[in-house]
Symmetry: C3
Subunit: 468 residues, 3 copies
Amino acid sequence: MPLNDPDRLFPVEPRLRAIARMLYDSVKDLPIVSPHGHCDPGWFAKNERFPNPAELFVVPDHYVFRMLASQGVALEDLGLPRVDGGPVETDPRAIWGRFAENYHLFRGTPSAMWLDHSFEHVFGLTEVLSRDTAEAYYTAIDAKLATPEFLPRALFESFNIEVLATTEGALDDLASHTAIQQSGWSGRVVTTYRPDAVVDPEFEGFADNIAAFGELTGEDTMSWTGYLAAHRARRAFFKTMGATASDHGHPTARTEDLPRTDVERLFQKCLDGTASPQEADAFRGQMLTEMARMSLDDGLTLQIHPGSRRNHNGPVFERFGRDKGFDIPGRTSYVDALAPLLNAVGMEPDLTVIVFTLDETTYGRELAPLAGAYPVLKLGPPWWFFDSYEGIQRFREATTETCGFYNTAGFNDDTRAFCSIPARHDVARRSDCAYLAGLVGTGRLREADAIEVARDLTYQLAKDAYGL
Amino acid sequence: MPLNDPDRLFPVEPRLRAIARMLYDSVKDLPIVSPHGHCDPGWFAKNERFPNPAELFVVPDHYVFRMLASQGVALEDLGLPRVDGGPVETDPRAIWGRFAENYHLFRGTPSAMWLDHSFEHVFGLTEVLSRDTAEAYYTAIDAKLATPEFLPRALFESFNIEVLATTEGALDDLASHTAIQQSGWSGRVVTTYRPDAVVDPEFEGFADNIAAFGELTGEDTMSWTGYLAAHRARRAFFKTMGATASDHGHPTARTEDLPRTDVERLFQKCLDGTASPQEADAFRGQMLTEMARMSLDDGLTLQIHPGSRRNHNGPVFERFGRDKGFDIPGRTSYVDALAPLLNAVGMEPDLTVIVFTLDETTYGRELAPLAGAYPVLKLGPPWWFFDSYEGIQRFREATTETCGFYNTAGFNDDTRAFCSIPARHDVARRSDCAYLAGLVGTGRLREADAIEVARDLTYQLAKDAYGL
Amino acid sequence: MPLNDPDRLFPVEPRLRAIARMLYDSVKDLPIVSPHGHCDPGWFAKNERFPNPAELFVVPDHYVFRMLASQGVALEDLGLPRVDGGPVETDPRAIWGRFAENYHLFRGTPSAMWLDHSFEHVFGLTEVLSRDTAEAYYTAIDAKLATPEFLPRALFESFNIEVLATTEGALDDLASHTAIQQSGWSGRVVTTYRPDAVVDPEFEGFADNIAAFGELTGEDTMSWTGYLAAHRARRAFFKTMGATASDHGHPTARTEDLPRTDVERLFQKCLDGTASPQEADAFRGQMLTEMARMSLDDGLTLQIHPGSRRNHNGPVFERFGRDKGFDIPGRTSYVDALAPLLNAVGMEPDLTVIVFTLDETTYGRELAPLAGAYPVLKLGPPWWFFDSYEGIQRFREATTETCGFYNTAGFNDDTRAFCSIPARHDVARRSDCAYLAGLVGTGRLREADAIEVARDLTYQLAKDAYGL
């Protein structure tokens, strides 16, 4: 018996299953377009082997280690590096063993589906991971990782990736991207402009970042004009490394379009470190509108990822730093928040703004009505906790009736877990085909149209929304 | 192959489909009760032909033109009149062509289902609308519109409408309604009292409206007593034109029950134009309670439609005015907001208050618990963006378990798109029967009870809730 | 035909139904673990017969009488005692008749399912309750209630209850529990520490309660140290009566972890009656963290039931008092609210905090991400209005993908309607098996794992979470 049901995620009712399978067969071999994610471009620049199964599947994956933590496994025992450099588990087999013996915790989660897909379709494993099979798993995966077929570039090619976008900060020198470009390798890996560290006054080291931003660009980033010019310069540089988009991770979706004098005053307070939390939020909001205006000139797609309350647990943040599974979504508002940006540039025909959410209540109430009216707006796919079968069904059910398919932006895998990329796209394709099968079966979509829509959701919408 | 699947919206599983079809067959021919909508009573007063297909299907339907706008079609190119009288497209064939070539945008939306229903069942068309069939569609529809069978009164009769409620402002002279009454035509078209323009201090021209309100009624509307008397007079007049309900479209669901002296002071500030936004909201809230008290005397059902953020896009509003697809829902609260009204009159046995929402999160959390306790409260059907198959499923799934069926108020089509009325009622009937079939199939409702409930949802609950 | 479909709540599709039935068969006979509820321990202490059908099914069940009230039946006519002792219906047959003739109001609600289950499986009735069968029902139930098999202890045993937790206030003498312990009866009935009356400064008679709390424990409850010591003493006493948990019903989920001097000042204001509503909320929040700290010592599981707006209708509260069906949920926030408690004790391996919600929007956005990260947190089952088939599906669909099954706490019946206990557990078991069948059918869960999960959801998770 295979580890993964070949008909997984399709409806069980035979007629619907047949439709879903037909739709899936029409899209399953399309190349992967991955317009937003967090893979390390160094993998493809250096093309060195991945160190071991634990470093591949456990240590970098916050979906995996936070679930283990939630049942009392200490992050130290999973090998997560401490900020203070203190001792943590260094034996990858011990880490792997802890993961394997707790694998039942992932029952019913997308992580289990992604992992089992990788285990079977990337590594050829067919037993269920458990305490009993942990050792055999480790040995098998580790042996494969030592072979040329499992080097990063070879995997990229075998995954059938047409283009992969990574995400780099505004201060990044993009050396790995340069190395990839100069290497002669044909794989398309592009960067994305993510300037949070020089846009968010509450970011660690903001003042220093702004100074570095000035040095890097030769602009006077202590003046508003110079600061904007520095952004323009870095955006242009990122474009030479393939960037077609910027990305912004803010606590709220607030945008502002303030008068010039107010903005300059606000900017100075941010530089001085005297901005209140509300003022910091206003500045971030102003910068979204500024970025949208730059996009009118340089064509970058603007992505907004708002609403995560980062580092919810103080002790974990102090000991292990950012991105350790303790980022929790919060209620997020879009209607009033996006109004300044949309009043400024919302009707522009050549701008694309992709909005994401961690607050599903906004799909039907706010985001679909906005995207179903404003030409610039497209809805990003279900993000993070909602990148899952149920998450995708809820997204489609809550948005399609109001904004249709063509105001959505295809799929993002948004991952730093490289081996999960085929699995994540496969889950998305199956989930969308399952949804479309339901529409066809209930007379809400013609079969011929569904085939076209399936291809668009899988491939074309992402290419169009990101200009790839 | 018909344009519309005869079994559309029914569950696919054969046993459930059979139950749904049986239930639907039992209600599909019941007359249409349309207790809330926005048709122009002038159509039935004058009984003139509809001008052309674009004027019938595109120009008045904000569902249709906002979707086209969201993909970059200019509203001018769809013939929407500009506030400044500037040039817009005047060729209905050109407008129709733009609509037709973008018809794929509506895939998976209720608009597609309503339009296809109208195309096939009203106009006898069986090809799919597209760029290729646009011309044939236009010619066929235009030809039918020229025949007596397609005059407004004939359509009203062929649609099997038992009663149609329109909505008129407090200052309206109801001339069309008078003309219909005097015409001898047997069609029942009634008005609804919608006094927003003289209740909302933020309405355009509020002070002038209050003055006109005084002239019209002979009451001193600059005094609180006279102002209330004017409402009573207009409500009585509206009742002579068939009104059985009032309707109130407020930004929030706030109600108030303030002491008399506070109300008088607040009213004066509203008249003076010195009320703050919060005071304006308080005044609107007070007026809901006042209207409820008048309903105790005159028996009008009170409808509350809260929560739309009107005219979200400034430039569109300035150029095209109200109701142009840029009204976006926002978060809406009911529990504290309705408390003053419900503490004042919530236990009255002879009052009916129908509450609507654009915030689906309130169905299970707020509205069903309130309606499942207070005798005066009934829940209106899914409104606007949620008048759809999925919207109806979510409504029933989130409310039935808490407040049952008998605290809901049947279906509203709420439309100004006359030809969509049969389609909208058909979608609602099918969607409710699909939901009921699920209950029967899973042993949650006896089949005999389901037949009774299907009839109540289709016909009786609307008649009872609106006193029609 | 039986009153209840033997396959109720299972999916209709034959393959899914077979899986669901198989899973259900594997758990249906497991003993009932009821770790949270509101039965009267006096029933089991005294073991006297239940007085009559109306007192058993109508008068104590706020689900039942609020639905009747919502359609205009006066609470007086249902025999609900008035606060002022004024006249209400005293004839149980008349009350029963009113209930029976309105039984159609419960169509599609869990109440109908619970009632029909009790009628058939406890009382052997097979006709549908209605005006026509009201008399026969009354006679049959009343006759059974007179027999030894229908005394409380006998029912407890025939219901196959392994353990039943009741809920008592901090000032309760637990006399009934003592009597049960001393009676030699083998039934396990345990108490739960519910100190709202001495924790909530807005509780009726708070100052008097604090004084009584001091007398009862011999502690100086006017001092912060003595007050905490009094809690510790009562918790210890409750543990001798079997308690394994405390429970806290607060209007919000707010927690605080304030400096000692601030807490002492706040406590004094609460004692003085000078605390503002915000300060009262802060004090309640501080006490949750204090209770969590006590739990670190004494091992009691901490339950938080936040978000009910109690006594929404003033006139009903004045006439009939608390718990009369007019408690309405409101929007509730957890992410910021729980942060102080979770930063203080969230990573403790030996503490269990079970959080409930009446705001389903928090399942996916807040609660599952929190429970999927913090070791102390477990999610309570769907509560109150959401203890239902659809409520359970939404809960599982919104939480499982993020926090899995093992961060949830099994089922609670949370009822004061004793005869509904088997019915409620049966609905939960069927609903969970239906959900699991969907996972198995769509390749998201292996069948062998589903069998294990079904048992855990039914039995083991509740025992573990509550230390029973």
